[in-house]
């Protein structure tokens, strides 16, 4: 799956939790206060359920989840689809 397709799904998922669906792909979702702590686990379930990957202990790094670009890159890396 290409980055654009993943990004589209992540953005659609995010749209369920924030008002601004056109959020900048580099914007830090957590630091900006766009999402709350509950979202963190919902995001984990979304990534696992939507893309068939397992988020493990060693994946707990804010760099993997902080923005749309970061989440997309993480999914690509874990699913072996990164360019």
């Amino acid at each position: 799956m290409d980055a654009e397709s993943i990004m589209q799904q992540v953005r659609a998922f995010l749209g369920q939790y924030i008002s601004d669906v056109d959020v900048d792909p580099e914007e830090n979702l957590f630091a900006s206060g766009l999402v709350n702590s509950l979202f963190a686990m919902q995001l984990v379930l979304f990534v696992e359920n939507g893309f068939g990957i397992q988020v493990a202990n060693e994946d707990l790094d804010f760099e993997n989840f902080k923005s749309l670009n970061a989440i997309t890159g993480f999914i690509q890396k874990k699913s072996g689809t990164s360019a």
């Binding site: 589209q8 998922f13 749209g15 369920q16 669906v21 509950l38 686990m41 939507g50 707990l60």
Partner: protein, 393 residues
């Protein structure tokens, strides 16, 4: 949503009911008075595979699916809310280890927890920190390959007997979680008694005075203690409490149906009084609605849907409120008898109130549910995204 039980689930439910009817319900009031949960009963839960049912079979567990586990919580909750809290906190730690523990931590602890050879408790709440759980004051300071913990934890269910605690503390201002063994130097455990409810849940206060923990006992990572580690545990805890509250509610229904067919006033059984019928009808309808919500949460949990977190919160909120209402009415129906310990309804009422407070107070659930509803409303107004929004829900 299919709420039909398969044969294995039907058999499991029958087993749980029989166990609670024979081994829990008859002694729950006695244990409540003594403010103790006998070690023999705790060990029995372990031997029957109930304590470890959330762990995979590779760790020696008698693994249950989400619905079967929910039904176990329901039946235990019907018999003793205090015992339900053991299942809850113990399995919260198991879930956390499964989700965020490393291989070494899982291999070391999960077989012991799955068998019930070791009991686990959950240490988040503090004397000054309840609902504001992200701002715990307990601190962990790195010291070589260890961390030194200072602070205190209060209202820790089964803290009097637990062998291991999942403790939340801040490291350089960031939340982290640690597994702390009971014999750790600097850990002092004091029993808490005289509670309104959950009297046999053997609550304790933990005082951590320069308590040394190996860095290898950290679960997850620094910064993820609240959002991911506690988040995982609390979501599971709410699932257990939602089902357990349904059990307590069903216990109220059962007790009242028994009583109103035996008690006569004004020359007729009180089941024939219309104002009694109103309370029974409310109770029964709430029990049906609560059951549907719990089953819905189970279905979502079974397939790992993202909406399971919110639907579990909704189920916990509704069932615990309905349990309080049912218990109030159950005492009312029993009259003066209901205010004594000759009937279980007084205990139900005291315990039901606790269910509205633990694993996220109902006011916290209201905030979560309301904000989510507003967001859903906004999302629903974006027709262009309707199809893609279904992803992961």
């Amino acid at each position: 949503m299919d709420i039909e039980l398969n044969k294995l689930q039907q058999a499991a439910r029958a087993e749980f009911r029989a166990f609670v009817d024979e081994r829990v319900a008859p002694v729950a009031d006695e244990f409540d008075r003594k403010e103790q949960m006998p070690d023999a009963l705790i060990r029995t839960l372990g031997q029957r595979g109930y304590l470890g049912a959330m762990a995979p079979a590779e760790f020696g567990a008698k693994t249950m699916d989400a619905l079967t586990w929910g039904m176990l919580c329901e039946e235990i909750g019907r018999g003793s809310a205090s015992l339900l809290s053991l299942l809850t906190v113990h399995s919260m730690v198991i879930q956390t280890l499964l989700r965020w523990g490393n291989d070494g931590q899982r291999k070391k602890w999960l077989p012991l927890l799955a068998s019930g050879d070791r009991i686990a408790a959950f240490g988040l709440t503090e004397p000054e920190v309840g609902s504001d759980a992200g701002n715990t004051r307990t601190e962990a300071i790195a010291d070589g390959s260890d961390y030194i913990l200072n602070g205190s934890k209060r209202w820790i269910s089964f803290g009097q007997v637990a062998d291991i605690f999942l403790i939340f503390a801040h490291v350089d201002g960031k939340p982290a979680a640690f597994l702390l063994e009971r014999h750790a130097a600097g850990l002092d455990i004091e029993a808490i008694t005289g509670l309104l409810g959950f009297r046999s849940a053997m609550l304790a206060e933990l005082k951590l005075d320069a308590c040394r923990i190996a860095a290898g006992n950290m679960i997850g990572g620094i910064g993820f203690g609240f959002s991911h580690v506690a988040g995982t545990a609390l979501d599971h805890g709410r699932y257990c409490i939602g089902w357990g509250a349904l059990g307590l509610l069903q216990g109220c229904v059962n007790a009242c149906l028994e009583y109103i067919g035996q008690r006569k006033q004004f020359g007729v059984y009180i089941k024939d009084h219309q104002l009694i019928q109103e309370m029974i009808a409310e109770m029964v309808v709430h029990a049906r609605a609560a059951r549907l919500m719990c089953h819905h949460a189970a279905c979502l949990r079974q397939r790992g849907a993202t909406s399971t977190i919110m639907e579990t919160s909704i189920a916990k909120y509704f069932t615990s409120r309905a349990a309080v209402k049912a218990a109030l009415d159950a005492v009312q129906i029993h009259g003066a008898n209901g205010c004594s310990d000759r009937y279980p309804v007084a205990r139900y009422l005291r315990d039901a109130k606790i269910l509205e407070i633990i694993e996220g107070s109902n006011q916290v659930q209201q905030l979560i549910i309301s904000r989510h509803a507003c967001q859903e409303h906004v999302a629903a107004s974006r027709p262009a995204h309707t199809e893609t929004l279904k992803a992961g829900s």
